[in-house]
Amino acid sequence: MSESDASQPPSPEEVVERFRGDVARVKDEVGKLIVGQENIVDGVLTCLLAGGQALLEGVPGLGKTMLVRTLAGALQLRFSRIQFTPDLMPADIVGTTVLTEDDAGHTKLEFRPGPIFANIVLADEVNRATPKTQSAMLEVMQEHSVTVSNRTHVLEEPYFVLATQNPLEMEGTYPLPEAQLDRFLFKLEVGFPTRDELHEILDRTTGSKTPEVTPVLDREGILRMRKVVRDVAVSRAVRDYAIRLLEATHPERPSAPEKVARFVRFGASPRGAQALLLAAKIRALFEGRFAAAVDDVRWAAKPALRHRMILNFEGEAEGVKPDAVLDDILAAIPEASPD
């Protein structure tokens, strides 16, 4: 590369190409241990690159923790895991200030950061902690900072929280409050693997040789990729489509489909639209495009909005799934604006 070439910023094509290369490398490393679950991997990567958090929901044993650990292994970042339990206290995850004595014999108060101080935090079974502890995560997840003893500690970027929860075991759990749910960029539902995938899983995990995951992407690379995501162009039509989808989740809006009007109590917040657009941009980059498309928004609609809609009593009583409501919304909202 010549000197003049080095002084010029890379073209979008080059940037996108590099982006896609980095993502591919990460996926390859994750794929060494994680069989299938491409959508989950894409979703987790999308949350990482968008700067948001991800909530993984699935029954135990589907590889949620393994996925996060593998991802952390592929990235040259600090990783910590917090197992949420009912007796877990906020200080246990945030950290505490302790009295210490130095070599000169002076004592001082020293902050001992909790496990939350990492680049990738796995909050395992987050719904088992008490609301008090769960709420300790609010500032971290949104502000990427922790305030302890009137002193705010900014966390190092990239900061990425991956929370998991079990949808079946409701005994002794504390459902996440709406405010905390809204802070997750995606809520990903981990499905059961297919038969072929199970074969592959068994092969890889029951043999004598365990695959080694090597870091392929460092902290700077991730930050650079995050910046590239922000540069992706979004047309007004695509943005308008995202907004109309968001509006359609509100039962009081005229564009709301019949199911929304009947089963939804509150629609998604504007954070939902932000999540839609960011996710759409990242998907465009994944596919080598320079602008987000309507299809990207549609792809991101369910993981970005399913946890942001609050069903009413009738919806809960009827067992209505948010994804079914979103299917209706996607079918009802046309791609082109009627205006």
Partner: protein, 693 residues
């Protein structure tokens, strides 16, 4: 602003055109429904009520109906298409993930970012091979099917020929109302016609006429005949019967009577003479035949034979034929006039019309002369036979073949008897036809009067109908005569025959067989009993009297209480009443005598004698007025009638008068004809005639 790749622009333009076309087709098909509906409505109105029923006529409506989808299509095509819509459709059809739509939007951005420019370039790279048809395939307009169906309906409507009533002048009502005649009346007529049909010796032409009359009766019974048509057929039938009438049969019989009187001078021919005087040719023939047979076995005296020969010679003498001579003179005069007018001028229309009248008059006179000539020819043949018989008797008085002469005479009388019988049948048919026509005419009058009874006729309509039916059924038998009277309450004209009838009215003298009862409602029925039971009676005002006059027997008088009239009759009969006197007036000196007895003494009747006065006699108007009061039996009235009828006939022949009106005029004169001449001989009477005032 960056330019988009030409391939993308072209593809977008193509898609935009297709979008406009589809919109135009959709709008046109939708509006075609409205237009075709409007056209169908307009066509329907035009077919049913005519094009003038539509404001402005049919054409503007059809033009509007055609223009409606056209305008809608053009309007839809000109409506702007969203700028991004073609690109979005192309993106979706080709799976380009909004590349084209985003590129179009980015191209319009004032300061596109590097990623925007890269997106535009990327769109350009994917713009090759775009297929507008895939992006927007044209579909059949959603309303095309119903519009086509409606168009087919309109085409059917166009070809449909709806018959409608043109608003022309209302046509005159031509509804044919079948004539309703009750079955009893028709059966009466049919029973009268039946003997003519069943008689095998009836001439063919009479049989045919009887069959025609029977057909008319059947048609009336089946209600297949309308009034005017029935009258027309009856008139035609009467005309045919009149044509077939033997030449002046009445005069012929009068001549036979005269011959009978001449033959009566011989004692041998006394029976035949009486039969001839009674106008019975068959009996006369039998009498002559029996005489011939008697002469084979018996030898009459010379005096008897001489008297027989003289009687035959006298009967063979020709009488003066004044009528024929008069007619000959009139025919000659008419021919001269006609010839002169022909020679004078033919230029003017008036002259030609006069000429035609003269021609018709001449033809009428010639026909009349022909009939008289025929009569003379037949009488001449009879007299020839008589003369031949007399000569035979004279020449071979003692020879046996004298019987042969009498047999030839009997044969001639027999032939005449056959003709007489045929004439009676013809008259019977003519009478039935005339009565049927009269009944049809009265049915119409009754319908016009709404079926209400006429108070002055003294009874309900139904009662009159029953009486009339009774008379019809009683009449129609050969030789019988029936008369129905439904007086208005002021007395009725008496009627009798042969100078023997009694006189109606109480205590008044019946003179000359004619008179009228002036019942006035006071008479309590003086009961006259003449030599043969003639009677006079005065009913109360409003009574109805039915007189049935059998040909050979006494009359029958039927009085129905509540209906009135005075009546004299020939013989027999009992008139109820009695009591207080009635007043009546007789007129005309009677020739033969009154055979009725004097007024019942028990009643308070009063005799009145009217003396004739010398002088010039009454004027014509006085005669007519007198006839209205006293009846149509005086000699003066007969002369006036003859004069007036001749004048009327002449006018009818001369002027152009509708045939129907001619019938009424002749019918009028027939009704007011003289009933009998001054000598007491009754004029030809119409049997079975019913009268109403």
């Amino acid at each position: 602003m960056r330019s988009l790749p030409p391939s993308l622009t072209r593809a977008e333009a193509a898609v935009r055109r297709r979008l406009r076309a589809q919109r135009a087709a959709n709008a046109a098909s939708t509006m075609a429904l409205a237009g075709l509906g409007m056209a169908a409505l307009a066509l329907g109105v035009a077919k049913v009520a005519g094009p003038d029923a539509l404001p402005g006529g049919l054409r503007p409506w059809i033009a509007g109906a055609l223009a409606l989808p056209l305008l809608a299509g053009v309007g839809a095509a000109l409506r702007p298409v969203a700028a991004l819509l073609p690109a979005q459709l192309l993106d979706r059809a080709h799976g380009l993930a909004s590349r084209l739509a985003s590129a179009r939007e980015f191209a319009a951005a004032p300061e596109p970012s590097p990623f925007m420019r890269a997106a535009i370039s990327d769109a350009g790279a994917h713009a090759e091979g775009l297929d507008p048809r895939r992006a927007f395939p044209l579909r059949r307009p959603r309303d095309l099917g119903p519009a086509m169906a409606l168009a087919a309906g309109v085409m059917v409507l166009v070809g449909l020929d709806v018959r409608r009533e043109l608003p022309t002048a209302p046509r005159p009502s031509t509804t044919l109302e079948p004539l309703l005649v009750d079955a009893d009346s028709l059966e009466g007529f049919a029973s009268a016609v039946r003997p003519v049909l069943e008689d095998r010796e009836t001439p063919e032409e009479l049989q045919r006429a009887a069959r025609e009359l029977n057909q008319v009766l059947e048609a009336l019974a089946d209600r297949r005949l309308e009034r005017s048509e029935a009258l027309r057929q009856l008139q035609r039938l009467e005309a045919r019967l009149a044509e077939g009438r033997p030449a002046n049969a009445e005069a012929m019989e009068a001549a036979l009577q005269e011959i009978g009187r001449d033959l009566g001078r011989a004692s041998l021919l006394e029976a035949a003479a009486e039969a001839l005087e009674a106008r019975d040719s068959a009996a006369a023939a039998d009498a002559v035949t029996s005489l011939a047979e008697r002469l084979e076995t018996e030898t009459p005296s010379r005096a008897e034979l001489r008297a027989l020969r003289r009687a035959l010679e006298r009967a063979a003498e020709e009488r003066e034929e004044r009528d024929i001579d008069r007619l000959d003179r009139e025919v000659e005069r008419a021919e001269r006039l006609l010839q002169r007018e022909r020679e004078r001028s033919e230029a003017e229309e008036g002259e030609r019309r006069l000429l035609r009248r003269r021609q018709r008059q001449l033809e009428r006179l010639q026909r009349e002369r022909d009939t008289l000539t025929e009569r003379r020819r037949r009488l001449e043949r009879l007299r020839r036979e008589l003369r031949q018989s007399a000569e035979d008797l004279n020449r071979r008085a003692n020879e046996s073949p004298r019987q042969e002469a009498l047999r030839r005479l009997a044969e001639e009388l027999n032939r005449h008897a056959r003709e007489q019988l045929t004439e009676e049948q013809r008259q019977a048919l003519e009478r039935q036809a005339r009565q049927l026509r009269e009944m049809i005419r009265r049915l119409q009058q009754q319908q016009q009067q709404g079926g209400q009874g006429q108070p002055q006729q003294g009874g309900g309509q139904g009662q009159q109908q029953r009486l009339r039916r009774f008379v019809l059924q009683a009449g129609g038998q050969g030789g019988q005569r029936a008369r129905l009277r439904v007086p208005g309450g002021q007395g009725q004209q008496g009627q009798g025959g042969q100078g023997q009838q009694g006189q109606g009215g109480q205590g008044q003298q019946g003179q000359g067989g004619q008179g009228q009862g002036q019942g006035q409602g006071q008479g309590q029925g003086g009961q006259g009993s003449g030599g043969q039971g003639g009677q006079g009676q005065g009913g109360q005002s409003g009574d109805t009297v039915i007189e049935l006059t059998p040909g050979g027997g006494g009359d029958t008088l039927v009085e129905i209480p509540g209906m009135g009239g005075g009546q004299g009759s020939e013989s027999g009969g009992q008139g109820p009443g009695g009591g207080e006197s009635g007043s009546g007036a007789g007129s005309e000196n009677g020739g033969a005598m009154l055979q009725d007895s004097a007024t019942d003494i028990a009643s308070n009747g009063r005799n009145t004698r009217v003396e004739g006065q010398d002088g010039a006699g009454p004027t014509r108007s006085e005669v007519i007025l007198g006839a209205a009061d006293r009846g149509f039996a005086s000699r003066g009235y007969g002369e006036v009638f003859t004069d007036y009828e001749g004048h009327a006939e002449e006018v009818l022949e001369r002027d152009e008068i509708p045939p129907g009106y001619r019938f009424y005029v002749r019918r009028y004169f027939q009704l007011i004809r003289p009933r009998a001449d001054a000598s007491g001989a009754e004029a030809p009477a119409t049997a079975n005639e019913s009268e109403t005032p």
